[in-house]
Structures are given as structure tokens and as C-alpha cells.
């Protein structure tokens, strides 16, 4: 029983990291109706940005809250700049192109980032700076609450609440929702869809930046292909919750994190990647719109 609760804690902590990345997928999908395959590599670049910045400042062996916040800010800024550049250079010229072309471009951008990452950063894994000390914060019976898990939870909850505020309480959030539901009508009402789309990329990518620092803290080994698997899983989480739906992405990510932890704990760790895709296929067969998604009727 204690093991089980411990696994739940780990699963929630993993799930909230997935959620941060899944939110980027789901926001871009909601507004552009495209899968931004490059999102997972934006996340990778965020991790490397934090790594190099920490080495530049010489704070890689200086764990503490300030280091955490500095790295979070650096990673968020780098990721949002990269997201903006990708949107501007690769996706905007294809705004009117068929969906297939946009999808292929997204895969191309993703491969480009991965392999230029291997050229620039080197293919061998690097050790992420020590952001925080991992210690047992408090203990209930045999259940340990570690500082990493708590930090991950707190940071991701803050990020998600900020996103919630941004989308539902501010003017630009309302514009984002308007463009997402109908871009041409929104542009008639004085919203510039291109700017809103660029802004969405900035927000989504900076969430990926937050995720990258948290993952780097928890699993301190980064390499240029690190985004591949976690990106796919975050995407599965977004689809599971209903892609385009912000609350759904969080729900789906928690389910993914918990189920992965349980598979590793009680079944076999080699099958955990296959299991994620198994969930995806089952969901798409029985409920293609996802758990919280709405079915849309195609009008001619």
C-alpha cells in the first residue's frame, strides 16, 4: 500500500511534467489545427540553453531557489524565441497550404533541430547543472515526499494557473480563444490572427522551457534526442485528453504519468513506451475526440 502511494506521487510528478509539454501541443493544435512536431525539440533546446547558461554564469554547482528561477527564466526566453522563429520562418509561409504539407514541414523542423543539435551540442549526453538538492522533505509513515517532486508540482501548478489566467481572464487570451474558434471572423472583429498565433507559439514554447528545466532537475542527463520520446508521450497525453482542450491536456498528462509509473512498477519497464502508444490507439479507436474533446461536424 505504501509502495502504491509512493508510485502515485511519482506518477503525478511525472504527469505534471508531461502536462507542461502537452499544453504546448494542445494550444498550437487548438489555434492552427496542426501538430507541432518541433515542440519536443524546442523543449530539448530549452534544456541545453539552461545548461550552457548555468555554465556561463558558473552556477552549475550552486543549487538553490535562485538557480532554479534563473534557469527557468533563461530556458523560457530561449524557447519562446525559438518557437517564434519556427512559426515565422517555417509555418507562416504555409498558412494556406494543405494540411499534409504543414505536417511534413513540422517533421522536417523537428529533424532539423535534432540533428543540428547533435552537430552543435554534440551527440553525447551532458550532465544537467544541479538545480536543487534532492532531500526528503517530510515523511508520512514510509511514504517519502521529496523536494524534487514538490518543486515539480509547485512550479507546474503555478505555470498552469498562470496559463489559465492568461487564456480566460485577459484580453489577449480572449483573442486567442476567438482565433481558435474561427480565425476569419476574429480577424473581421479586429484581431490580427498572425500576431495571436505567434503569441500562442511563445506561450506554448515557454511552457516547454519550464518543463525542460524540471526534467533536467529530475533526470539530469540531457542529449539532443531527449525530446523525441517525452514529446511523443506528451502528444499522446494531449490527444488522450482531447487535443485543443487545455484542461484535457492536463488530465491526459496525469493519466499518462500515473499509468506509466504503474506499468514500470508492476509490469515491465521495457514495455512502457509501447504502452503509451497502446493507450493512444485504443483512445483513438473508441473516442477519437479524446476524453474531454468535442466532436466537430464537418460542414461543406
Amino acid at each position: 500500500m505504501q509502495d502504491f502511494i509512493q508510485h502515485i506521487i511519482n506518477g503525478v510528478s511525472l504527469g505534471s511534467i508531461y502536462a507542461l509539454i502537452a499544453l504546448g501541443y494542445t494550444m498550437v493544435y487548438g489555434i492552427l489545427k496542426m501538430i507541432n512536431f518541433a515542440h519536443s525539440d524546442v523543449y530539448m533546446v530549452g534544456a541545453f540553453a539552461a545548461y550552457y547558461f548555468a555554465r556561463f554564469l558558473g552556477i552549475e554547482n550552486n543549487p538553490g531557489i535562485t538557480t532554479l528561477i534563473t534557469l527557468l527564466v533563461v530556458s523560457m526566453v530561449c524557447c519562446s524565441l525559438l518557437g517564434l522563429a519556427i512559426e515565422r520562418l517555417a509555418y507562416r509561409p504555409l498558412r494556406k497550404a494543405p494540411k499534409l504539407n504543414i505536417l511534413i514541414t513540422a517533421i522536417g523542423v523537428s529533424l532539423f533541430l535534432e540533428y543540428s543539435g547533435q552537430v552543435v551540442f554534440g551527440a553525447d549526453p551532458k550532465v544537467f547543472p544541479e538545480v536543487m538538492k534532492d532531500f526528503v522533505l517530510f515523511k508520512i509513515g514510509d511514504i517519502e515526499l521529496k523536494s524534487f517532486d514538490i518543486t515539480v508540482l509547485i512550479v507546474s501548478v503555478i505555470a498552469m494557473l498562470a496559463l489559465e489566467f492568461l487564456i480566460f481572464k485577459t484580453k489577449i487570451g480572449r483573442a486567442m480563444r476567438a482565433v481558435s474558434s474561427n480565425a476569419s471572423v476574429a480577424s473581421l472583429l479586429g484581431v490580427n490572427p498572425d500576431r495571436i498565433i505567434a503569441f500562442t507559439f511563445i506561450v506554448g514554447s515557454s511552457l516547454a522551457g519550464v518543463g525542460s528545466v524540471l526534467v533536467g532537475m529530475k533526470y539530469p542527463k540531457i542529449d539532443p534526442l531527449m525530446g523525441m520520446m517525452i514529446g511523443l508521450k506528451a502528444f499522446v497525453a494531449a490527444v488522450l485528453g482531447g487535443i485543443g482542450n487545455v484542461g484535457g491536456a492536463v488530465l491526459g498528462a496525469l493519466i499518462m504519468g500515473l499509468s506509466e509509473e504503474m506499468v514500470v512498477a508492476y509490469l515491465s519497464s521495457t514495455y512502457r513506451d509501447a504502452f503509451a502508444f497502446g493507450i493512444l490507439i485504443v483512445i483513438l479507436i473508441f473516442r477519437p475526440a479524446g476524453l474531454l474533446g468535442k466532436y466537430s461536424v464537418e460542414k461543406v
Partner: protein, 323 residues
Amino acid sequence: MKFLKAPLLSLIALSALGLIFNFGLNAYFQLILLFAAVNCLMSMSLNLVNGYTGQFSLGHAGFMALGAYFSAYANTHWDLLPESVQAIEYFIYALGGGLLAAFAGLLVGLPSLRLKGDYLAIVTLGFGEIIRVALLNMDFLGGPRGYSGIPGFGSFLFSFIFASVWLVICFFTIWRVMHSTYGRSFLSVREDEIAAEAMGINTTRMKVRAFVLSSFFAGVAGSLFAHFTNFINPSSFTFLQSVNAVIMVVLGGMGSMTGSIVAAIFITALPEALRPLQDLTGVDLRMVIYSLSLILVMILRPQGLFGDLELSDMWRKYVRRSS
């Protein structure tokens, strides 16, 4: 027997070419040629789904893996025919590998082809990964160590003729299908699914048929790959292999058979041609160049290099007119 004329002629032509290559090239170029043949099969078959039917499959390597492992297993464990007619046995196993892949294609395609565009890409991607992970965990197929000691043909000439037989079968099957009523239905699904449905075409069934035929030839390609390399392991069939096939189709032009052949040969030869560059700079720039060219082709020439024209159309359009 008139319908056999063109395939037989091209088979003879390819065999003659193989005879020339047999004496004219060294083993290095011969191996590249054989890989080009495998890639041609991959791109032609993927072209049927991604190009003609307008769906997006990202799991082609998974089907290739099925064919390759089936062939490898069958060739090392079963002995149907005597040694003297070994080639026929290889042919049968390639057929079997193709059928296995086609069956898997049916299983994957039936539920997932009801989905639209992007989702299909993800499901096929997931399926390819599942196959790879499953192969990693199957100990009787070697697991992560791979499967070695697969019998090959021994000589380049026989390998090339064997590959040519399948290339000809693949090319003419897809060509004939695309010029029949089925082909029209595939094209109509690509052009406008709703309109196609209104014209009485069962779009899901058409997509599944295209998908099954495509995965059949991917399985055959895997089987050829297993014979040519004599060693396979799950990491030969990663996501990257699927992306490679997609790049070939996109570069050649979605919906152009000859385009995908040209692109397959080009993509196979390119890394070898870029080897001096790699020696010069000391880093592996091939995939960077690949992916950049993919993005640029999509932005500057979205229909691919050939569009949906064939080489013969290009001949008519540009060469004959000017004379």
C-alpha cells in the same frame, strides 16, 4: 499475354543492367545499388498511401520490419525446397513476409483509417514503435542483439535480378491499380473526401485497400533488406527509417511513381556522395541537409520535384514540344 509484355521487357532490361553492373562496378557501389532497390520499393509503396490516396503514414518501417523478420526466421528455420531452387524459396518467403505485413496493415488500417490526416500519422507512428519495442523484447528473434546469419544470394547478379523481379512486380501492380477504377477512387479520396463519399465511394474501404497493398510491398522490401544485409536488428527499423521513406515520396512528388524511384535512388546515393563533406568538416551533416531540404521543398515547391507528373509526362511536356 499482351499485358506481360512491358513488365517482361523491363525485367530483361534491368537484368542486362545488372549484368553490366556486375562487372563494371566494385562491391561498394553494388551494395548501394541493392539498397537503392530496397528504398525504391519502400518509396513506391508509400507513394500509394501518401501520394495517391492522400493519407499520411509514418509507420512504414514497422511493416518493413515485419517482412524482414519473417523472412529471416523462415530462411533459417524452414526448408521447403531443395538447395538448387533456393531462389524460389526466397521468393516465397518474401511473399510470405509481404502477406504478414499486409495483414498487419489491415489490422492497423481498419480502425485508424477512419481518422483524419494527423491522427493517422500518429497512430501509424505509434504502431511502428510498438512493433520495434515488441521485437526488442522477443528473445527467439534475437531481441536487441538482432538476427544474424540470414542466408543471402552470394552474388550481386542474383541479388540484383531478385530485386528487379520485385521492383517490376511492384511498379506494374501499382501502375495498373492506379489506372483502373480503384486508382480513380484513390485519387478522388485524396482530392476531396466528402465529394468522393457523395459519389458513392466507400472512402474508408478505399483507404484500407491502399494501405494494405502498400504495407505488402513494404514487407517485401524488408525481406529483400534482410537478404542483402544478412543481419537485421530492431534499430534498423526506427522512426527514422519511416521518415526516410516519407522524404523520398515528398521529394519525388506525391503521386508520381517515377518521381519516387528517382528520389529513392537520389536519397540512397546522397549520404555516400556527402561522405567527403563529412570527412572535411568532421561532423555528420547529412541529416541536417536532409531535413533542411525537406522544409525548403515543402515551402518552395509543395508538390514535390515532379509533382504528380511521371517521367514520361515530363518527356512529352518539355522535350517533345520543343522539337
